[in-house]
Amino acid sequence: MVNLKINNIPISVEEGTTILDAAKRLNFRIPTLCNHPDLSVAGNCRVCVVEVKGARLLSASCATPVSEGMEVFTNSEKVRIARKHVVELLLSEHNSDCTKCFKNGHCELQELASEYRIGDHVFLDLVKAKDKIQDISSPSIVKDNSKCIRCQRCVRTCAELQAVSALAVVHKGNHQSISTFLNKPMNDVVCTNCGQCINRCPTGALTERNYIEEVWNAIYDPRKFVVVQTAPATRVALGEDLEVETGTRVTGKMVSALKKMGFNKVLDTDFTADLTIMEEGTELLTRLKKAIVDKDETVKLPMMTSCSPGWIKFQEHMFPELLDNLSSCKSPQQMFGALAKTYYADKINIKAENMIVVSIMPCTAKKFECNRPEMRDSGFKDVDYVLTTRELAMMVKQAGIDFDKLEDDNYDSILGESTGAAVIFGATGGVMEAALRTAYEIVTGHEVPFTNLNIKPVRGIEGVKEASIKIKNTVPAWNFLEGVELNVAVAHGLANAKKLMEAIKRGEANYHFIEIMGCPGGCIGGGGQPIPTSPEIRRKRTEAIYAEDMGKSLRKSHENPEVTEVYTDYLGTPLGHKSHELLHTHYKVRKRY
């Protein structure tokens, strides 16, 4: 233990604790900008400087470990002046057209400027005209260099969490900036659109490409029938942007708000999550049969999940040689779009060309996904607009809805029913768990051998998780799987995905099925979720997801009555002709540079 004093108050903390963390324990808040709980320490913004008695220099509290006998002052005159100077300098380099900024009200720099009452700029305006041109090339991410304060949180996110490094620091001195390879537009580089950089950007330098106006226009257009679907992970996070406590499930209120806002039908992506399990589970079992019974060596195992569009694009760029291992299933969002504009449009007697499908997603990569040219199997663009959880929150506010006071409402039918298995798609390991619940039962005729269907080994925050399930007492049709040890792995965050892929390439990984989610924590930590994010926040959202699952009467995808109905009515069988046409897709090789 190390003994020190902070603002004259003694404290002892473990060796290696930073001054910042030690001060936090005494409830002294030291402002930070470049620091983030998910990332390595940079110590470059210098907002968190503190005075250490006897030291000539101020110390960056985020980067300085405590030492025995240290006396720290977090709010001395020197500190105050320096901190104010730092904020003023950052503002001088920052395009402060705050009212136009998507991050207005959620900007860490804005908060600091307000705390220090920095009004008229003391220093000269240094924003360059060329930086005021936003990069809107990407359908998912808008990059605005004039808002960038060079804290490098995005760079560290892209490199450390995602192993993508689409963003990097270039040049030095007054020319230093955060840029892409050869300063190419965001849409032309290796960016996976995961949006994790947005979640960690303290200002409005990185934001999602927002489609709020387009969606309002569709709602107001009397000729359009606007259908909205909501992803599993949005219901446990939306509240955070609407003054509800983190980790609160707001499913009913969200449905109610969407109805009040004027969407014609409020449906659930969870329905197609269940459908995904039917298709993907069947695909897995088919591949296993081909490999084990037919000894077909062209069958690619392990099979990899394909729900996460950030992960898909990552693989297309980084591991194109493994693209055949990807499940051919569309993501639940795209399955929904394709079904909405065919089967559903038919059912409710609306012409597909008059239908607008809007998705509420925890994800920014979904905006890219819905624009993929392959995603038009209904004959139209299957999903028209994707809104992030944050954009929805903004629309709820714009609509003047007092969210907290809303009564719970239920999803419309059909395409609104879902099971617990679908809900857990929102957390890392959820797709795997949902698939196992169904596949195991198909193969053996009884439930997975875990208490309350909760397959614990695939849950949790570990980067790469593994599990094995021995298949016993198979039904006759699946006899060939008797005694087979089904090996599965789950990875979340692309850096972890990369590790897993490299192990597979080296032939060191003997898995049958792999779930990968592009974002840390899975969709609950998605790039479109409310900001801020931290391991603690993601833990609370995850708990809410599993609570939602436990609260459902149906917890296995194949028990979803609407899913059964859609197969009987329309699709035939999983992997059948119609399903293949509407619910499956293909991938393309992309360059890294």
């Binding site: 320490v41 940079a42 110590g43 470059n44 913004c45 210098r46 907002v47 400087v49 000539r56 220099l57 101020l58 960056a60 980067a63 300085t64 470990p65 020197k78 002046i81 320096a82 100077h85 730092v86 300098l89 950052l90 001088s92 380099e93 003391v122 220093f123 000269l124 240094l126 304060i149 060079r150 490098q152 620091v169 040049h171 030095k172 001195g173 007054n174 020319h175 230093q176």
Partner: protein, 389 residues
């Protein structure tokens, strides 16, 4: 305070043919590592790169670290404007530098040493490599397991900062690291590292040759030994001179200036500018104004506004850009004096800028941002009218 007259000496470049650098090495490693460290501490040698950290202590700290690998690095990233002494040393007496490194390696237990040569000195590399190869061979003949390698920088000023230099050597962006940890604990590749300036290493070799007593007889109590100066600007005799430390600036100006000196910039662009009226009272050394060796003389034909402007342009470009006080501060200072000059800001704005430099001095991450205050305040204070009008 004892005060020296200006005394030229010729230790570094004076060549005693009877004792070669490798002889110094042979003689020195007969002693224990601890006694060599004691000699270094006793000699009072402080780093000649500008910061002036006691060399013996640096070696001692690194020796005391427990690690599977340690490194000796010679910092030949000489980028300070007005400084060109290390180039001369590397050109004329590189073997003394190698010897200093080899002795240091013996003391701390390093098997690898690197000379990080600034990108602009690449023309030296070819001949230097030959000499390094020869020296490595001599070491090998002596069953030493220490080898010296050359590394070329890419020409960023900040890479002379020790931790930025490590980053650069590791193949990353040349940006300073957070401190602590210091290089003696975690330097190149995260291992304990001694990083010494070219000239410092030469003096370690000389101290081993002549003994610490002899070395101490040069200079003053606070500033032991001599030092190599690069003299430039308005002088009839620009060049490299070895002088004892602790002399009055007055003597220096009498010796080197053209009779019309109005200011001397001591320590390069990041150093202090001393006006004529303070020549008498200024001592060059650790008791006065310490310097990495650059002495730029300005006579009355020079505009100190232009001088400061050039310095600020330099820092604005050469800041690595990672920390706010340095990246934005330098730009504000540059634009600020331009605005005052043009009348777009009132002269009182200079006071705001001076306050800003004080923040840069204590809040910037590394020596680059911290030292911009030196030229700014000394020039603005002493030549205010030239900045305003």
């Amino acid at each position: 305070m004892e005060q020296l007259q200006l005394k030229k000496v010729d230790i570094i470049f004076g060549w005693d043919e009877k004792v070669t650098p490798i002889d110094v090495y042979d003689k020195t490693i007969k002693k224990s590592a601890d006694s060599i460290i004691l000699d270094m501490i006793d000699s009072g040698l402080k780093g000649r790169g500008g910061a002036g950290f006691p060399t013996g202590l640096k070696w001692k700290f690194t020796r005391n670290e427990d690690s599977d690998a340690k490194y000796v690095i010679c910092n030949a990233d000489e980028g300070e404007p007005g400084t060109f002494k290390d180039r001369e040393i590397l050109d004329r007496v590189p073997e003394k530098v190698f010897t200093g490194m080899a002795i240091c390696a013996y003391v701390i237990g390093a098997r690898e040493g690197y000379i990080y040569v600034r990108g602009e000195y690449n023309f030296l590399l070819k001949s230097l490599q030959k000499k390094v190869d020869l020296f490595n061979q001599q070491l090998a003949e002596r069953k030493s397991d220490f080898t010296i390698y050359l590394r070329s920088g890419s020409g960023a000023y900040v890479c002379g900062e020790e931790s930025a230099l490590f980053e650069s050597m590791e193949g990353k962006r040349g940006e300073p690291r957070n401190k602590p940890p210091y290089p003696t604990v975690s330097g190149y590749n995260g291992k304990p590292t001694v990083i010494n300036n070219v000239e410092t290493l030469v003096y370690t070799c000389e101290i081993c040759r002549m003994g610490s007593e002899k070395f101490k007889s040069f200079g003053t109590f606070d500033s032991r030994g001599s030092k190599v100066f690069s003299v430039s600007g308005d002088t009839p005799t620009p060049g490299i001179y070895e002088l004892e430390l602790g002399m009055p600036l007055k003597d220096f100006v009498e010796e080197f200036a053209d009779g019309d000196a109005k200011a001397v910039q001591i320590g390069g662009a990041s150093g202090h500018c001393v006006p004529r009226k303070k020549f008498n009272e200024t001592i060059i050394g650790f008791e006065g104004i310490p310097t990495g060796g650059s002495m730029m003389i300005f006579n009355s034909t020079r505009s100190m506004y232009n001088v400061l402007h050039d310095y600020l342009e330099f820092f604005t470009e050469e800041s690595c850009g990672q920390c706010t006080p340095c990246r934005v501060g330098c730009q504000q200072l540059l634009k600020g004096i331009e605005a005052v000059k043009k009348g777009e800001k009132s002269p009182t704005y200079l006071e705001d800028l001076k306050k800003l430099t004080l923040t840069m001095k204590i809040a910037a991450k590394c020596g680059l941002g911290q030292s911009v205050a030196n030229p700014f305040i000394s020039i603005v204070d002493n030549f205010k009218e030239e900045i305003i009008y």
